[in-house]
């Protein structure tokens, strides 16, 4: 396994700038998105009223799109570019990578303009027949298309490396990046197919839209989108986090197996977002629940591997006992503390996810604040904290600088954790009391049934404010690292890939045949969706003309 090197070949240095540009873009997007999030919290708690020129739903659309689609995607493409370039050390050209970045950025700007000018207040799910301006759909499509260039760049590099290193295993970080991007390509085909229906309709070329079909295509993409974030976070948990405490990767083979399972099972599960929809037979919903349970297994494996790695490293250092090991871990290093605090939140995120995917139980929580609480202890907690912690490792690494104000960085990750915990608990609780998500105000003219919700919204706003303070610190530290320009001399690498433990067992060669696993994933997705999609198409549903209701 290749540890990051102090002096890199020239082509790698060019790759560093590419990865850094992706990651710093993600940093700025996270900042804007979090400030919108705070204003939403205040708005829902009736502390402020958003002005007409930038109303709640416009802001909510911006928050969702920036966080779920833009921040995460830019960070992940940057991270994976880094994973592949630094472990293969054979990068010839960064042209494809830069093309991807520019296409993603142009798409983001187009979608952002549409949202800001008020022509696309359709939230990040853009459910038809809410009809946004074509600019929004074009922008979102380009954002996705840009990631395909990045994926092509990574696949090409891995293919070239494999040809030059016949019989060798692809280094683990490059394998995990490739595996995730294959999953992403399969998933994004769904949303691109949806766009092929939405764009002509939005342009006025088609009179109406098959609402159910677009929703099914969206969620075919929408759930693996979640796993795209989680697999990127897992990549860091498996390969980078152990290096922060001098540990090793528990098992190369099991890590690859977990990712292969995620590749296979992330896509054929989307109907669990559509349990409460008419027009879909309950049998299909049940099938997708079963498959969703299947995708829990690689997460169990991941949890085991993380704790096993902690314990092995601690024992090697002579530390024994649960609390002693927990205390021994480097909680003062933000590159560890970010992901580790995220893991704590993910325990709740994971169990909440099992509730949500549990068929009839979903009735209790569907479209309530519980769901909002859930994705803030998944993407907003574990994923964001892992990406933030990784940024603290990557920015110094990629710039050759030392981290600006490391104590501030540490305070920042703990503040994020605290704020997100307060906010998510309040949101989960509000959801159990029945408070709906996605509403600018939940007082319902003082209706008795809504009386218990406001107090929870105030707590959620408090948590949101703490997260917003935290994100300001994040931007200060990340930006300060460039501006302060303190060169790192002989510093230990702040973001290094750990090696696998010496006595780990051999990895079966079949695990490395990602093309075949990708094919299997496509077959499984087709099997899970052939039935419901055929039923949608043969139902001859009436088309909805669509309108702008904002």
């Amino acid at each position: 396994m290749t540890a990051a090197r102090p002096s890199l070949p020239l082509s790698i240095a060019g790759g560093n700038l590419l990865a850094l540009t992706h990651i710093y873009t993600a940093t700025l997007v996270l900042g804007i998105g979090a400030l919108f999030g705070m204003l939403q919290g205040f708005s829902r708690a009736n502390l402020i009223v958003m002005p007409q020129a930038f109303d709640y739903y416009r802001m909510l659309t911006a928050h969702g799109v920036l966080m779920a689609l833009v921040f995460t995607t830019f960070f992940i493409t940057g991270l994976f570019t880094y994973c592949v370039y630094t472990t293969l050390l054979r990068v010839r050209s960064t042209t494809l990578g830069w093309t991807g970045y520019v296409v993603m950025l142009v798409g983001t700007v187009m979608a952002a303009v549409a949202i800001l000018d008020g022509s696309a207040s359709v939230l990040y799910t853009f459910y038809a027949p809410l009809k946004a301006s074509p600019l929004f759909y074009f922008g979102a499509t380009l954002l996705i298309a840009g990631t395909w260039f990045v994926a092509a760049d990574l696949f090409l590099n891995v293919a070239i490396w494999k040809r030059a290193n016949v019989g060798e295993r692809v280094p683990l970080p490059a394998f995990l990046a490739t595996c995730t991007m294959i999953m992403w390509i399969i998933a994004t085909l769904g949303v691109v197919a949806e766009m092929a229906l939405l764009i002509p309709w939005s342009l006025g070329w088609t009179p109406g839209i098959d609402v159910s079909l677009t929703r099914m295509l969206f969620w075919y993409f929408g759930h693996p989108l979640v796993y795209f974030w989680i697999m990127a976070a897992y990549t860091i948990w498996y390969t980078v986090v152990p290096s922060t405490y001098g540990g090793r990767i528990f098992s190369d083979a099991l890590t690859r197996l977990a990712f292969i399972m995620l590749l296979l099972l992330s896509t054929p599960v989307g109907l669990h977002h559509q349990f409460l929809e008419p027009g879909i037979a309950p049998g299909w919903k049940w099938l997708h629940m079963v498959l969703t349970y299947g995708v829990v297994v690689p997460s169990f494996m991941t949890a085991f591997a993380i704790f096993a790695s902690f314990e092995q490293a601690a024992r090697k250092a002579g530390v024994r006992g649960f609390f002693q090991i927990v205390g021994w871990l480097p909680w003062k290093n933000p590159v560890f503390a970010g992901p580790a605090l995220g893991m704590i939140l993910f325990v709740f995120g994971g169990f909440g996810g099992i509730v949500n995917s549990s068929y009839s139980m979903d009735v209790l929580v569907h479209n309530t604040m519980w769901i909002v609480g859930h994705f803030h202890v998944t993407v907003g907690g574990p994923v964001a904290l892992t990406f933030i912690g990784a940024t603290y490792g990557l920015v110094p690494m990629l710039t050759g600088r030392t981290l600006f104000a490391p104590r501030l960085a540490l305070v920042q990750v703990y503040l994020w954790f605290a704020g997100m915990a307060i906010m998510s608990v309040a949101m989960h609780w509000a959801g159990l009391l029945g408070a709906p998500r996605r509403a600018s105000d939940v007082t319902y003219f003082g209706a008795q049934g809504a009386a218990t919700w406001h107090g929870e919204m105030v707590w959620a706003a408090t948590g949101g404010a703490i997260v917003a303070i935290s994100v300001v610190l994040f931007i200060v530290v990340a930006t300060g690292t460039f501006l302060a320009d303190r060169r790192a001399v002989d510093a230990a690498p702040s973001f290094a890939f750990a090696s696998t433990r010496e006595d780990a067992l051999a990895t079966p060669p079949a695990f490395d045949r990602l093309t075949r696993w990708g094919m299997a994933a496509i077959v499984l997705a087709l099997l899970a969706y052939a039935g419901p999609v055929t039923e949608q198409l043969t139902a001859h549903a009436y088309l909805a003309p669509g309108m702008r209701t904002w």
Partner: protein
């Protein structure tokens, strides 16, 4: 491939837990009918007001203690705005949308369904406690989404 004994135990526990959940939920679905609302019936969303039975939205008594309620969801209101039923009434709600996607939810009851234009949703509930229940749209439908609510009065 060898998997560590502790990991086999852990995964065995995890998979067994999932199997129990699955068995409970599947049994509840088959035996007690706990199935998420999945009514399959199409309707022209541009003609809901002319299409029976939605041409006369409202509550109908279909037997002793049994009712059917027909709702049209449109930005930003439900028709009918209020229905009144006696205690222990079993009400089957049929809902459709005349414009965009809506939600149909009565918090703290099991009533919760999406309302998709082009389709009719069905969900039922027995109201065993008297009071005024809030019925809300719980899917974003536009600038007045937060105002979209109705009432179910149980006497």
């Amino acid at each position: 491939m060898h998997i560590h004994r502790a990991e086999r135990l852990w995964l065995g526990f995890g998979v067994a837990m999932l199997a129990v959940f699955l068995a409970v939920i599947t049994t509840a679905a088959i035996v007690d009918g706990f199935v998420p609302p999945s009514h399959v019936q199409t309707i022209d969303p541009t003609k809901v007001s002319q299409t029976p039975p939605f041409d006369r939205p409202g509550l109908r008594r279909i037997g002793p203690g049994a009712y059917e309620a027909y709702y049209i969801a449109r930005i930003f209101a439900f028709v009918p705005a209020t229905i009144t039923v006696p205690r222990d009434a079993h009400v089957t709600f049929f809902v459709t949308s005349g414009d965009v996607e809506h939600g149909f939810s009565i918090p703290e009851t099991g009533v919760n369904t999406m309302v998709t234009p082009g389709w009719v949703s069905e969900v039922s509930h027995t109201f065993s406690t008297p009071g005024t229940f809030l019925l809300i749209c719980n899917e974003y439908c536009g600038s007045g989404h937060q105002l979209m609510a109705a009432k179910v009065i149980v006497q």
